[in-house]
Symmetry: C2
Subunit: 504 residues, 2 copies
């Protein structure tokens, strides 16, 4: 790549900002993996300082000047135009947040995380209520500053836009309504079918080191490059990509059931493949990052569910599974398959099945929407949460640990994040159907352990574009149509029918 | 602590700078422990950006103004006076290095580290010569800028002063001359004695996880707080303290000999205790750090050698050792003791014994001194190194891996660092003798596993003072006299006599 001097200056300033992000992300990764217990306070301060510097750089007159100087050179539709669109978007969002507010939010996030951990352990919402109140107040304050930047002018849309540029309540509400309308009867139908899945093929004694070895083996088969990444234990699995050559996955495990670890690893490796596949030539530039969290989640969900829970994948994986777990050598694909597609209302989102998962997100979407519309306050959250679970899933949490305190997100100040999980589910099904259409018999490939054609397709259609296009554009240009819940619902209906004999 | 507004402003600005240091140190720790192989390039860029920001903050008019505003409030001898002395020292050093030079040095360090690793593996100095040349040139350039800040006005003293504030070639040269004069005949006498130490009590099969457990057990006995620290594998053991509640030790091990791991861990834990003992009330302030690298090394050496290789410590440790290594259950303190005090000229500094160790440092002091006096160039280094080994230790390296490429320091741009190792050896003996004088029968305590009185004494005399005093001041006020090589030489002569029957 050659750039004009003005472009070079803009990109140089941006690279510095990107480096600060990478540093913060490494500190965050360490916080969740290896940091000693007493390190929390000091880490919070360092992260707050880095956030302050990041904010200062992003809103500096020097960056603004460099951007303005490039304006004449950016032809509409060019790479530079996309660079400037992304840069301006982030500069404008940051500029509207006063530096002092940014710093207070960073500090509140650190305090929030610690309080949430305590409260969850003690199953006592009060231990987190004050910190959560501060986080909500600061987020409302921030959303107020940002609202003028989104089409609707609504604060909640400004929050959604942070994680999914261009998303809005008006656009998401009908998606959630239709998922709710389709999935509730499905879940009810399963309950009424009287069919109970035998989960024993997925159960037994699975030692940690063998689960790790099996998970790594599968991630390697997917194409995850362990010379450019890692896999470590953490309480809550996540993926952190500092650059395409340093991508960190985390996992957790359960001794009596191999599914949480394996599907967790496939999920995070799906995120990781996206990060490793981002375009090297746009590294440290505004469009060198993933396009949105929804698209990110589509990658993780695609590998976890559409590949990892498919019959054809297991025809390849089963012998490898047997090698790692000789006690399970009698398990067959037919016996295992239903246990990969159980449908049952449960309390914990991260353990939810494919059919109920989006109902968990419906709850969160409703509750957050109401919170930022001022319809409810922090003190109302536990009851609002429990009521929504009763209404949508027909079950009521026994305590806040399996209720409103289960997710880490709010404690980190991430409001408006949850809908991206559902977007990911919808996008992944639509992408996967298109891949099947273009690549031919994916199942035959999976049976042979050939996952590279699919990865290659995703690299070509999604990864290599970074944030060159907006999510909606990318989906439309790849699949030929706008995002809809149809492909996902078709998939869930089909798997549910094959396991439970229920069609709704 | 309450501060005036002007003091608060100065300390607030300083805290930000300290946070940038902590972030860089965590990135450095990760680089040596968990970073995937391909992460190197990206990491170098992030570290360079952080170094640039650190430099910008340290040399900013805002900090200078905040310092100037405090000038009237600082009474001579007060804490604030010490804060300002340390702050000004670092501001002045940083201000004399142009930002662009600081950035180029950070980049050259990353490139240097990678090249050095390659060259050492290939035993080919040429693979590192170019990068080392760049590092030396940039360091000479920097030393030229810094020279006016030191009393002598000499560039080499400006380098020494970075690691050991106030140290000078003129002051170090006689120390090294006297060590050389005493230690060479001692080493020669041992060789002529014909006594060969039986090292078998320290040898056998020591599995990694048992060595780790034993090392951790000993570090805990020393008082290292594992809720405020960690111990991880690394190619080159080091200690990194981000704040007193997050201190990272690293270790390496050898299956057939327990000594490298154990004494490595005791050494790093000695550093770690200093970091954990730094005053909480001065955290993120100029005097909240260790006073100098020489004093730091005195802490590590004290625990590694004066405690860890003592007969009385092993009277406590041996049963614990037997528990961890049942195959060595016949080993006695009498049998083991000589193997803890072998004297033999070898090539590798980090494996050197107590008597020869400082001769290794003599070589480096001589070679660096000549390099920065312009008497030799980078291309001359391998020969100069080998010649010096032949002269001082009577042995000549067979290749550069056991010669001039053995140390990581130069590849990280650290010139003038080595003498602090010898200072540490001298300081630790002088401190230890004073502790014995004040605490009474240390050996009786060690025999009972009571290491806390010694730690308490070090906390009181050294750790809690941070950089409140200069190293020379601290040593004089604690031991009642200026630093001399006498205590150290007495110790080495005594142990050597008890093992080899040789007195020089």
């Amino acid at each position: 790549m050659t750039h004009s001097n003005t472009q070079a200056l803009f990109l140089e300033r941006w690279a510095e900002i990107d480096d600060l992000t990478a540093a913060s992300e490494l500190l965050g990764w360490d916080q969740e993996t290896y940091m000693p217990a007493k390190g929390q306070t000091g880490r919070g301060k360092v992260l707050a300082t880095l956030a302050g510097l990041h904010h200062a750089k992003l809103t500096s007159p020097e960056l603004r000047d460099a951007l303005d100087a490039c304006a004449d050179e950016a032809e509409p539709g060019s790479d530079l135009d996309a660079q400037m669109r992304e840069a301006r978007r982030r500069v404008e969002r940051a500029s509207r947040i006063p530096g002092e507010l940014a710093r207070r939010r960073a500090e509140a996030q650190s305090a929030g995380l610690a309080a949430w951990q305590e409260a969850r352990k003690a199953k006592d919402f009060q231990l987190f209520a004050k910190e959560l109140g501060v986080l909500v107040d600061l987020t409302r304050e921030a959303a107020g500053h940002l609202a003028p930047l989104v089409a609707s002018g609504k604060p909640f849309d400004a929050l959604l836009d942070e994680y999914e540029p261009g998303a809005s309540e008006a656009e998401l509400a009908p998606l959630f309504a239709s998922l709710r309308a389709e999935l509730s009867p499905l879940v009810k139908g399963v309950a009424e079918s009287g069919v109970r899945v035998d989960e024993s093929p997925a159960q037994g004694r699975f030692p940690e080191e063998r689960q790790l070895a099996f998970g790594r083996r599968v991630a390697e088969q997917m194409g995850f490059d362990f010379d450019a990444g890692r896999l470590d234990l953490a309480a809550h699995p996540f993926c952190s990509g500092f650059n395409p050559r340093d991508v960190r996955l985390t996992w957790r495990w359960q001794e009596d059931d191999f599914r949480p670890a394996l599907f967790g690893i496939m999920h995070e490796a799906g995120h990781g493949l996206y990060e490793q596949g981002l375009p090297a030539e746009w590294e440290r530039t505004p469009i060198g990052t993933a396009v949105s969290l929804g698209v990110h989640e589509s990658q993780s969900r695609l590998w976890e569910n559409l590949v990892g829970r498919s019959r054809s994948f297991w025809e390849w994986a089963l012998p490898v599974f047997h090698e790692h777990f000789p006690d399970s050598r009698d398990v067959t694909v037919d016996a295992l398959y239903p246990a990969l597609h159980t449908v049952q209302p449960t309390f914990i989102r991260v353990e939810a099945d494919e059919a109920t998962y989006n109902l968990h997100i419906c709850v969160r979407f409703e509750v957050e929407r109401a919170l930022f519309a001022g319809e409810i306050e922090v003190a109302d959250l536990p009851a609002a949460w429990d009521d929504a679970y009763e209404e949508l899933l027909g079950i009521r949490p026994a305590d806040v640990a399996e209720g409103v305190l289960q997710d880490i997100h709010w404690s980190m100040g991430a409001f408006g994040y949850f809908p991206t999980y559902t977007l990911g589910n919808l996008i992944n099904a639509q992408l996967f159907n298109k891949a099947r259409e273009e690549l031919g018999d994916l199942d035959a490939m999976f049976r042979a352990g050939e996952l590279q054609p699919l990865l290659g397709w995703l690299r070509d259609k999604v990864h290599r574009h970074g944030s060159r296009y907006r999510a909606a554009e990318l989906i439309e240009q790849t699949t030929g149509r706008a995002l809809s819940p149809d492909d996902f619902l078709d998939y869930v209906r089909a798997t549910t029918e094959s396991v439970y004999g229920v069609r709704v």
